[in-house]
């Protein structure tokens, strides 16, 4: 991870120890957060369902995930006879490791106001409150979420059983199609921020925005549309309800992980919740200013302020995920594909073009009103063509069925 300022100069023991320390802290923090998230989700969703939820292990059942984890360890580990052994064993890790790696590039805190630039000093070394800041930044996140598809796909395929295979085919189709919309929403952010690095994106959004009150966050700068697209697409990417067709219990036994048991299943389970946390953190980083809080509230606590704001903003999204799960029924598979390909991708693409046109217009000193009007007209024309194409395709299919 060459982007980290630590590894630019000569690397001595203290630098090495700082890196190891950061990795350890991030790993332990993420594991603990994941366990808390599982408890939080179960407790919250049970409240929304008017149930009680976990209540026996520890105060308010907070140790429930710990108890479940210990139980998983002592369960029999079954590898089916017809499974492809090596792939079957590898698949949970392909799911778990990217989920963890994704967390490494998220700037967790630091003071971005003034000229501090999010740098903190540990033992005389400057560093960021994030494990790594690779120059490819947010592309790394997209790459990791693509690799997670392999975990799901290979798990289903290597189980040697039909239901996991069906589940994983659904999963990979879903994840691949929503990745496109997600990527296009990210491009809008990158276009505005002018950098791929997550630290750079967080830094870009810091500072006072319009009138000193409206924050300088990408969610406003890009117009709200890419943010909404990103949230919907990543909910689908995470296989969270209402897009949890992968684990549609009513149709698929258990989904792609049907044949998994014991700690191998726990890895999938953990990866799923880990992804929820990391994806919420990425929302915050990309669209909601990362660790920076409202500028007028000041940063009296130094780098701690950043961590507090970051945790607050992330937990809003964690709550949102649980809320959506409690409120929405699962989509049908064709609705899922329609939403992905016919709504989100065209919309994301159109919005990106609009943002690009406005940027180019500003550079060339064109009349901004004219630019917007013409762009919107072109986009509406494109939308009409798309509608016509979809309608035409449908009527042709109907004719074939009739004829």
């Amino acid at each position: 991870m060459g982007g980290d300022p630590l590894l630019i100069g000569p690397v001595d023991l203290s630098v090495f120890l700082i890196v190891v320390g950061k990795v350890l802290i991030a790993f332990v923090l993420l594991l603990i957060l994941t366990m808390l998230m599982i408890w939080f989700e179960r407790k919250l969703v049970s409240g929304m369902h008017n149930r009680i939820g976990p209540s026996l292990a520890g105060p308010f059942g907070i140790l429930q995930s710990l108890a479940d984890g210990i139980k998983f360890f002592f369960k029999e580990d079954i590898i089916p006879d017809r499974a492809q052994r090596a792939v079957f064993i590898l698949a949970p890790f392909l799911s778990f490791v990217p989920a963890f790696l994704l967390f490494l590039i998220v700037p967790l805190g630091g003071n971005f106001n003034g000229n501090v630039n999010g740098i903190i000093t540990v033992f005389g070394h400057d560093t960021y409150l994030q494990v790594a800041d690779p120059p490819i930044g947010i592309l790394f996140a997209l790459a990791m979420s693509s690799i997670a598809v392999y975990g799901v796909m290979l798990a289903g395929w290597s189980s040697g059983s039909k239901y996991p295979l069906l589940g994983s085919v659904r999963a990979s189709a879903q994840m691949v199609s929503y990745e496109a919309a997600m990527g296009l929403a990210v491009v809008a952010v990158v276009l505005k921020s002018g950098t791929l690095s997550t630290h750079g994106i967080a830094e870009f959004q810091s500072g006072a925005g319009f009138a000193g009150i409206v924050p300088n966050w990408n969610v406003i700068l890009t117009g709200v549309v890419p943010f909404v697209i990103f949230v919907i697409a990543s909910t689908a990417e995470l296989n969270r309800p209402p897009f949890d067709l992968v684990e549609a219990e009513q149709e698929l036994v258990g989904g792609f992980n049907t044949e998994y048991s014991s700690i191998r299943f726990a890895l999938f389970f953990l990866a799923e919740f880990m992804n929820v946390i990391t994806m919420s953190a990425i929302f915050v980083t990309l669209f909601l200013g990362g660790p920076s809080g409202p500028a007028f509230l000041g940063t009296s606590l130094g780098w701690l302020t950043g961590i507090i704001w970051f945790a607050l903003k992330t937990s809003v999204f964690l709550f949102m995920f649980v809320w959506i799960r409690a409120a929405l029924p699962r989509l049908r598979y064709d609705q899922l594909m329609d939403l992905g390909w016919k709504v989100l991708i065209p919309l994301a693409l159109g919005w990106l073009l609009l943002l690009g046109a406005i940027d180019v217009g500003r550079d060339a000193n064109w009349n901004p009103v004219a630019v917007v009007v013409i762009s919107v007209a072109v986009l509406l024309g494109g939308y009409g063509l798309l509608r016509a194409a979809i309608a035409g395709g449908r009527s042709r299919r109907l004719q074939e069925v009739d004829g």
């Binding site: 919250l44 409240g47 929304m48 369902h49 008017n50 149930r51 009680i52 209540s55 026996l56 809320w323 409690a326 409120a327 929405l328």
Partner: protein, 231 residues
Amino acid sequence: MGFFSGFKVPIKQMGKKQRVTTPYPKEKAPQAIRRHGRHVLNRYEDGMEKCIGCELCAGVCPARCIYVRGADNPIDDPVSPGERFGFIYEINYLRCIHCDLCVEACPTEAITETKQFEFSFTSRLDAIYTKNELLVDDEGRPQHLPWEDWRPGEDEHTSAWMRATSPSGSAEFEGLVAWSGELGYGIRAPELGQSADESMLDANPVVGQTGIAAHRPAPVRSRPETEDGGH
């Protein structure tokens, strides 16, 4: 906001006190008065066993889980008032389906069911209750065996199902006492039947804090003339 109004529903539910779920090991949901649990072998008020070893229960049992052997009563120390008594009485609870056919078949109301359902075993042999375990104790209550979870007051209603049904299925006999006394309780009052008046119908016939009160004994009427004439 029509599309998004669904989001308000779960939010409104949060923090509401009214819950459907019972935190089970801590508190138990009210049980129906006629719930079929594990059996007891009843005794008469003088302490004699009711079972006469006729094996009708074993014969009617669809799960074949009851094993009975009768024997002649010892003349100097009779176990039951009649000629024979249940010498061996065993029920295998791995097979029992709690259909209560044995209770209906029993001519002496010897076998009835309690509400007990919380018992488990670590070996198949332990699942076979013998006569020593099934027989009620000296106060007429079911024995509290170490592997069973009894709560206070739960051992009262041991024969509700029997007392809820009218003899021979004839509605004429509804609400009439047609059974013998039980050790510790005497002749139990009949359960309120279907012809109970409207004001009594709203009370839930369940065992629980409110349930026992709802299960008010009906006034004991004398037997109608038809029955006396018939005998």
